[in-house]
Amino acid sequence: MADIQKIFDIGMKGLGLIQSLAQQSKDITPVIRSLTNVFSKRVEDVTDEELDQIEADLDAALDEFEKPMDKLVPGPKG
């Protein structure tokens, strides 16, 4: 019974994150994919295609994160 409660709690926390990120992220799909990977524990037999996919997702996320914040980018003068 305690295990069921634990699973439920974890699920609710996951939903909270997804909701939060969905409000902030332009494209939530890669995040959901990553979360799905975690919850389904797909780490036993990763294929090259799955690896390629997660690498592409990570690179895209890093590209976005490493951009300067809009408010710190000087606007056009004049």
């Binding site: 990120l21 990763v46 990570l58 914040m69």
Partner: protein, 138 residues
Amino acid sequence: MRKLILAFPVLLLLGGCAGIAETALNLPSGVLTTSVQNPVSKNTLFRVENGLRIAVAGLQTYKNYCNGQPVGDRCDVVVVQLQTYSRRARPLVRQLRTFVRRNDQVNAAVVFTTLRGLFAEFSTYAAQNGVPVPQLGV
């Protein structure tokens, strides 16, 4: 206050999921402690990258929040510093990919250890500044 409200759901999952299967959320737990006896496999690489993807989503959320704050807010400095960690990690991740795909375990282990150190440094900085990212546990 708004910052706390924004961070809370992210924190809940990223921090609260530590108990799930040494998850990639709690990135290095069981992953970044890999030793020579536990080679850096494609599965390990996948877990590292997957965990990083989720962590970066949390960082992006914080950055988006910060973007809405006035210029000069304390969070500006935090985001810029977090970006330096990200930029340092990136070439290491690339190297790790190459070595793992070639099954070059010696170099993979070296890069893996370096990456683990960087995670620890990053984790400490993030925690000190209240940024909602996983406690990396290294």
